[in-house]
Structure formats: C-alpha cells, structure tokens
C-alpha cells in the first residue's frame, strides 16, 4: 500500500496529468484509495498503468457498492495491484444515481484490463451500472429476464416467512 504521503503524491500527479480527475484521497486502515470522477476513470486507470513508477497493471478486482443514504450513491471500485512492489491501490469511481428509469453509466475498461469482462457484467447485474463499450453487457448470475437490481440497498432480501406454530394459520401454503 502506498502510505499516506505517497498517496497524496500520486493524487497530485494525477491531477496534473488529468485535471479534476481525483476528487478525494482516503487512507484508512492501511489501505489507500483514490476517489475519482467517473467521467475520467479510464484516463486515471491508464495513467496508473502506464506511467513508469506507478505500473499498476494488474486489476485484482472490480466491484461495486451501494452507499445508499450517502451521496454519490454508487462506487465502482478498481483494486489495482503492482506486482513488482506488491502495492495495492484502490480507485473508486463515485457514481450518482440518475433517478427514475435511467441507469448510471461508466466507461468500460475491458480494453485495458480484459479481466474486467465478467466483473463488469456482475456489477451491471447487481447494481444496474451500465458500462459503455462493454462487448457483451448482460446479466451473468441472475436469470436473463430478471427484473430488478438485487444488490442495491433498497432491493429487499426476499425469501418467505418461515412457518412456525405461532404463524402457521396465517401463512398461506402452496395449495392455497
């Protein structure tokens, strides 16, 4: 993990190369995180991968999280790894929820990191985040025609009420 000053240096250089990309830095519990503007996420990843001295060319994980009461609502995390120095860096693209029927959009990094193919599909499947430029963006774990984005915080967990003796007369059975 780059330590806190190292992280600030990276953020500074990134902002020099791509102005306005890094919104915040966050160094907590020994882990470094850059919060970036979603429109420039490809530029940031490309810079981190290609710049000598950085060379984070292994994408360990791409995942999303829903921070619902907090704004911006979605965060797409890119866990980068520099294998030579064994340093991990997390890049978080802070996405807003456009509201209504629209889905949040982000550029796909499949060209840069082919490993992202399945992982972006998973983020789409569970959160409804559309990755522009993804070769085959469709649901991966849920059935193809499923409606809803299960991993969002406002989606119910689901399941059925368990039948105990105290509620066995109220809960309808399969034959009713």
């Amino acid at each position: 993990m780059p330590d806190a000053p190292g992280l600030e240096l990276i953020a500074g250089e990134l902002n020099d190369a791509h102005p306005g990309s890094v919104l915040e830095t966050y160094h907590d519990r020994g882990q470094a995180c850059l919060i970036v503007d979603p429109g420039q996420v490809l530029a940031v990843l490309g810079w981190l991968r290609d710049t000598s001295g950085q060379e984070y060319w292994f994408l360990a994980s791409l995942h999303a999280a829903d921070y619902l009461p907090a704004e911006p609502r979605f965060g797409v995390h890119y866990e980068l790894l520099n294998m030579a120095r064994v340093e991990r860096l997390r890049v978080r693209a802070a996405l807003d929820d456009p509201g209504g029927d629209d889905l949040p959009e982000l550029d796909s990094c499949v060209d840069m990191f082919p490993t992202a193919e399945f992982q972006e599909r998973e983020a789409y499947d569970f959160f409804g985040i559309v990755f522009r430029g993804h070769p085959d963006l469709r649901r991966i774990l849920m059935p193809e025609e499923y409606v809803g984005w299960p991993q969002r915080r406002d989606f119910p967990v689901g399941g059925e009420p368990v039948i105990f003796t105290h509620n066995e007369r109220e809960v309808p059975r399969w034959y009713e």
């Binding site: 849920m142 059935p143 299960p150 989606f155 119910p156 967990v157 689901g158 399941g159 059925e160 368990v162 399969w174 034959y175």
Partner: protein, 242 residues
C-alpha cells in the same frame, strides 16, 4: 382403532380385515382342491401371486439396484461424492452406478441449493426421468431453502417437484445420506417408515404432494380429503374388529 389406521396405510397384499382374510383362506383351499373356476382363479392368482409375490420381487429388485442421478449442485455434492468413496460405501447397497443421464436413472439426489435459475432445469430433468422414480432432497437447502432465505434460492425443492425423502444437515454427513437412502429402500420395498408419527399417534397427518393437485386442480377434492382426515367420523363397524 389405531390398528385400523395403520392397516389403511399397509401395502396391498395384506388383508384389510378379518373377513377378507377368511375369504382368501377359503379361496386358497378351493384352489388346492381344484375347485376354483376361471374368474375366481384368475382373481385369486392376481391377488395372491402377482400382486404380492411379483410386486414384492420387483420392489426388491428396484430397491437393491438403484441408479442415482447425481444432481450435484453445491456443497452437499461433495458429501454425496464421498458416499461413493470407500469409507461410506454406497456400493454395498447396490447404488454406486451414478448415472448422469436422467433417462437411465432411478432416483434423483438433489444435493445443494436450488437457485431460481436452476429450478426449471431441475424440473425438466425430473420430468425426463422414467417411472418409477424417487427423489431424495439432500441437505437443508433443497429441503427448505436452508439458511438462504432470500431472493435467489427456492425455499425447498418440494415447491416444484415431489420429494420422497428429506435428509437434514448442512451438509448432511455421508452416513446421514445413507440412512436416508436406506429409508427410501424400505419405502420402495413396501413398508415405509412412519417415523415420529408412530410414536406420537399421528398416523393420519401426512401431507402428500399429489401431481393432480398441482397440475389439474384437484385442490377441492384434496381439501375434502384433508377435512375428512382431520375430523373424520369413526369408520363403519364392518371395517374390522380390533
């Protein structure tokens, strides 16, 4: 009173009353004397020989040479694989020939959580199996959804297919699965184990999943049968003395 209920569940070859037994005895005597005519003879042969001996032989053959259709879905599949392993040998019960194709399999061991994407596949595979077929629902997840009470898991395989034996556990030990398999064998042989119902005097309380109730809508007659079973009037006096 209690003996009548158990007799009602008994397999076909047992006489249902003392009168029936007497009739059978007389018929057997007449057979030996050569006095039985064609129709009577045929009926007697059907009842005593075909219905009993042949069916028993068939059931014995079925029970001791079952081909499981392995439906390894999740963690229970690993424990199911280990019943084939030398320590918990299922070959001693004749069932080590795990057939992947449903057309060649006798019973389905549904091992693992049934997700909503997989449920239609399981049902189709079950439909492709040839009669007679049975289902062992192995583990908590396929019996009742297990610990996963959420949007993705069907809460019990018996929501969409009939299940004969449920084996609890998460995952059940291979010995538990073998015990369940033995119970299935006893069920096939014609003496199903009433289980706790025999100890708690609850012989009429089973809920059977009937195909007609699900598909053709025999719900009304099923409800009628349940109502009768719950608050039935005492059986008529000629059904037999204690």
């Amino acid at each position: 009173m209690r003996r009548e209920k158990i007799r009602a569940l008994a397999p076909l070859e047992q006489p249902r009353s003392d009168q029936e037994l007497r009739v059978r005895q007389l018929r057997a005597r007449d057979l030996l004397r050569g006095d039985l005519e064609d129709e009577e003879l045929q009926k007697h042969v059907e009842e005593s020989v075909l219905a009993t001996r042949l069916e028993k032989a068939l059931n014995w053959g079925r029970a001791n040479a079952m081909f499981p259709a392995t439906f390894g879905l999740a963690c229970c599949a690993i424990e199911m694989m280990s019943i084939v392993s030398p320590r918990y040998d299922i070959a001693r019960f004749g069932a080590e020939a795990m057939r992947a194709s449903p057309r060649q399999a006798d019973f389905l061991i549904l091992s693992g959580r049934v997700s909503i994407k997989m449920a239609p596949v399981v049902r189709r595979l079950y439909d492709q199996m040839l009669e007679p077929k049975w289902v062992i629902s192995m583990g908590a997840c396929s019996s009742s959804g297990g610990m996963f009470a959420n949007y993705a898991v069907v809460q019990g395989a018996d929501k969409f297919m009939p299940v004969d034996i449920h084996v609890p556990g998460c995952p059940p030990r291979p010995e538990a699965l073998l015990y369940g398999f033995n119970k299935l064998q006893r069920m096939i042989l014609g003496h199903p184990d009433p289980g706790w119902r025999s100890r708690y005097n609850a012989a009429g309380t089973e809920e059977w999943a009937r195909e007609e109730a699900i598909t053709t809508g025999g719900v009304d007659e099923y409800r009628e049968a349940r109502r009768v079973a719950k608050g039935a009037p005492p059986p008529p006096p000629d059904a037999g003395a204690a």
